[in-house]
């Protein structure tokens, strides 16, 4: 148990000790080697890197250098990432066997290990993190502590203003003050629909009930989004603190965080954070001698996308199949066990402490007229800098994809970006300058969603992409209501027919009609948005659909059934490489004379296309 005074003391002392983490001009002999321990870098052996660093430092008796595990730095494509502070040197794609060299060259000799420095998009070697284009246009609020602190150490969190917002709330603000601050900030739900957060808090506060609950939705289901996971892994305490502030504001004494069981690192760190907070007396009864008590529990998901829908999530917490409830009543009035319940997602909570500490005015000065603050995107697909980015609302898609993301690799062109995951839509090149905010994305047939942003180059077939998303929805539909249960399946079947070349124009019309009716008639957000990927691709890439139907061609060459692999006899030198690559022996030909492909045998796998040294084979 720690008193408020003791916590303040920890903050002061620890802050001094950790100054070199953020004050890059700090003059100190100490160095901190920060190693990313997010899921991505952990998968590529960052724990081994930490171990090696520590071992070598010990062997060499180096005492003024500490190795710290941190959350995600964001630039996952370059992982595992090692950053050395205060000089802010950024080493990319580090292997465990590189540790020795980093210690010898960087720490002992004071020189950079050039071969491990990060190359920017313009091929320029960058030796400091803040010089990378990737970071230049970003503004980190929700991700502020990610990659800076050791998420498993509560003192490090406290050092960087941790639990200071809670202190402010409990000691100097009324419930209404807190709600007003959140309302005035303009913060809107980061989980997808963008409902004003302050309003939600107000509804829950006003609802009558002897027991109220605060829930954190960490069931990050959008395949391709991982910001919530990164926050839980990199800064778990900020979510705990925000949930407590929410609990105070709405009058709840119990919180649940619903996390995907597929996120073991996040679950482990969050549990550790809860334990530490309890240990410090931050979570518990009569916190810091006030009347406010708060208890927090983790509930694991078990692999169902629909549980990201708030009422399905409640059903799941209660131990049932994750089938959404009909709204109204809304969770604010009848949520967990029919009690008033506030549900926000991880990223929404991650903004709260900053709003309380810096004020609504500061927060609402960032962003656009209707969408305030920043938004974290998981940038993926055919883009150079895959990773996590946080940008002010209103940043254009072009800035994200090209300035931050570094554009499209391998000389291909941008074709579309997909936001909002299975609920969102595809945005074509003509809308690249759309400022990213809730309304603008909605207006062009997509949605903010949880922040997955997948970039596609010109080799991607939009019909196939729509099919991919529908396949996802069909798998993840809970089966409760008819339109979603049967309708999405029928849509998928029509798309399969089209991508196989047996679709008709009538099918296309049926597909569109069905999509519109499913949107209107489904019970929950999953069904109501499931047709979006189809509708938006029909809207922007109808010619591609028609090409599949009328010309029996897949312009992007992705749809296998429509692909025809041919060898250009002019270019073929008869080297035989393709023949050896072919898994089904569809290629014949004498050495040094043009080869041929038997289309009845060919499975259109494309292996020959990739391997042909003369680019004689096309698909």
């Amino acid at each position: 148990m720690k008193t408020l005074v003791e916590i303040k003391k920890i903050r002061e002392e620890k802050r001094k000790e950790l100054d070199l983490r953020v004050n890059l001009k700090a003059s100190t002999k100490e160095k901190h080697i920060l190693v990313c321990r997010g899921t991505g870098c952990t998968s590529s052996k960052s724990p081994q890197i930490i171990e090696n660093f520590r071992k070598i430092l010990k062997e060499k008796n180096i005492e003024n250098v500490r190795v710290i595990q941190t959350g995600c730095f964001g630039l996952c494509a370059k992982g595992p990432i090692v950053i050395i502070r205060p000089e802010d040197t950024f080493y990319a794609m580090v292997k465990p066997e590189d540790c020795e060299e980093i210690i010898n060259t960087h720490i002992i000799e004071g020189k950079k290990v050039e071969r491990l420095l990060c190359k920017d998009v313009d091929e320029k070697l960058v030796d400091r993190l803040d010089e990378l284009n990737f970071y230049k246009k970003q503004k980190r609020i929700a991700l502020k502590n990610c990659g800076v602190i050791d998420p498993e150490n509560i003192d490090e969190y406290i050092a960087f203003d941790g639990y200071k917002a809670l202190e402010k709330v409990l000691t100097s603000m009324s419930q209404d003050d807190v709600i007003k601050e959140v309302t005035d900030s303009g913060l809107r739900g980061r989980g997808g629909a963008g409902f004003p957060t302050g309003k939600k808090w107000m509804f829950t506060k006003m609802a009558e009930g002897d027991q109220k609950y605060v829930v954190c939705n960490a069931d990050e289901g959008d395949p391709g989004a991982f910001m919530d996971r990164s926050i839980l892994e990199g800064d778990p305490h900020c979510v705990i603190e925000a949930m407590m502030i929410a609990g105070y504001a709405v009058g709840a004494s119990k919180g649940y965080i619903y996390v995907r069981a597929e996120y073991p690192i996040a679950v482990k760190r969050f549990q550790k954070a809860i334990d530490q907070a309890k240990d410090y007396g931050i979570l518990g009864k009569n916190i810091w001698g006030t009347n406010f008590s708060f208890d927090l529990e983790i509930r694991l998901g078990a692999g169902a996308f629909v549980c990201g829908e708030e009422t399905a999530l409640l059903e799941s917490i209660e131990g049932r199949r994750g089938q959404p409830r009909l709204k109204p009543p809304f969770p604010a009035n009848a949520g967990l066990w029919q009690k008033p319940t506030l549900i926000n997602n991880v990223e929404t909570y991650a903004n709260i402490t900053k709003i309380i500490l810096n004020g609504a005015k500061w927060y609402s000065s960032i962003g656009t007229e209707t969408s305030k603050g920043t938004k974290v995107f998981a940038l993926g697909g055919n883009v150079v800098n895959i990773g996590l980015v946080e940008v002010p609302m209103g940043t254009t898609l072009r800035e994200i994809v090209f300035d931050i993301g570094g554009g499209i690799p391998n000389g291909h062109n941008f074709k579309a970006a997909q936001t909002g995951g299975p609920s969102g839509g595809c945005i074509p090149a003509q809308h690249l300058d759309t400022p990213i905010d809730y309304e603008s994305l909605g207006a062009i047939g997509s949605m903010m969603g949880s922040g997955g942003l997948i970039v596609m180059d010109d080799t991607k077939c939009m019909v196939n992409l729509a099919k991919f998303y529908l396949g996802f929805t069909v798998d993840e539909s809970c089966g409760k209501c008819t339109p979603c249960r049967i309708g999405t399946r029928r849509m998928l079947e029509i798309l399969e027919k089209i991508t196989k070349g047996s679709g008709t124009m009538e099918d296309l019309q049926n597909l569109e009609d069905l999509a519109n009716n499913i949107k209107k008639a489904s019970v929950c957000g999953l069904g109501q948005t499931a047709p979006n990927p189809v509708l938006s691709t029909i809207k922007y890439f109808k010619d591609e659909y028609i090409a599949h139907i009328k010309d029996k061609k897949c312009p992007a060459g992705e749809c296998k059934a429509l692909a025809k692999v041919t060898i250009d006899p002019e270019k073929c030198k008869g080297c035989g490489i393709c023949k050896r690559q072919c898994p089904v022996n569809a290629i014949t030909g004498e050495t040094k004379s043009p080869h041929k492909i038997d289309p009845s045998v060919c499975i259109k796998c494309g292996a020959c296309v990739e391997k042909c040294p003369f680019k004689a084979i096309s698909k």
């Binding site: 630039l75 990050e220 959008d222 991982f226 998901g301 078990a302 169902a304 209660e318 993926g380 995951g421």
Partner: protein
């Protein structure tokens, strides 16, 4: 994860009892208990379902309904080596379907199946959150990032040669 079912031996499995006793006899704990049972046995055996049914005073059909709703719970043991190919969007766009096709061919099973010798099972999973490494696949807890069909072939061969 165990290779053989620990509970069909007839007697009560003390570990199962231990899992149950950790939780209050409250229906809302069902999914938490199932997660632990799945983790421990590698699937949710019928005997465990029966024990949970008694412990939580729930009918078995309802428990079965919950198990079959969530994709993490399985009714049959997985193979010793579970190959899981991520079909999240980021991986899909980077060609993870080809990885799945390669694995199917190499293992001669479809997704969701286990090889006859019980050594391998194949699974198509949703985003595992390693989008920076796309496309990825995993074999048990080992993650293989920026994978190619060749890597898949190589890795499966390696595991085939293991015990």
């Amino acid at each position: 994860m165990s290779e053989t079912c620990k509970c069909e031996c007839g007697g009560k499995d003390p570990k199962l009892e231990e899992i149950l006793n950790k939780y209050e006899q409250d229906k809302s704990n069902l999914i938490q208990i199932l997660n632990e049972v799945q983790e421990y046995y590698g699937y949710v055996p019928m005997k465990a379902q029966e024990a949970i049914s008694k412990y939580l005073d729930m009918e078995m059909a309802e428990i079965y309904g919950v198990i079959t709703f969530y994709s993490r719970f399985t009714l049959k043991p997985k193979g010793k080596y579970n190959v899981a190919v991520c079909l999240g969007t980021a991986c899909f766009v980077k060609g993870s379907e080809k990885l799945l096709d390669t694995a199917k061919e190499a293992l001669k099973i479809k997704e969701g199946e286990t090889t006859a010798d019980g050594k391998f099972s194949l699974e198509a999973t949703r985003c595992i959150g390693a989008c920076g490494l796309a496309p990825v696949f995993t074999v048990n807890d080992e993650v293989y990032g920026k994978a190619t069909p060749e890597l898949m072939k190589k890795v499966i061969e390696e595991y085939k040669n293991r015990e």
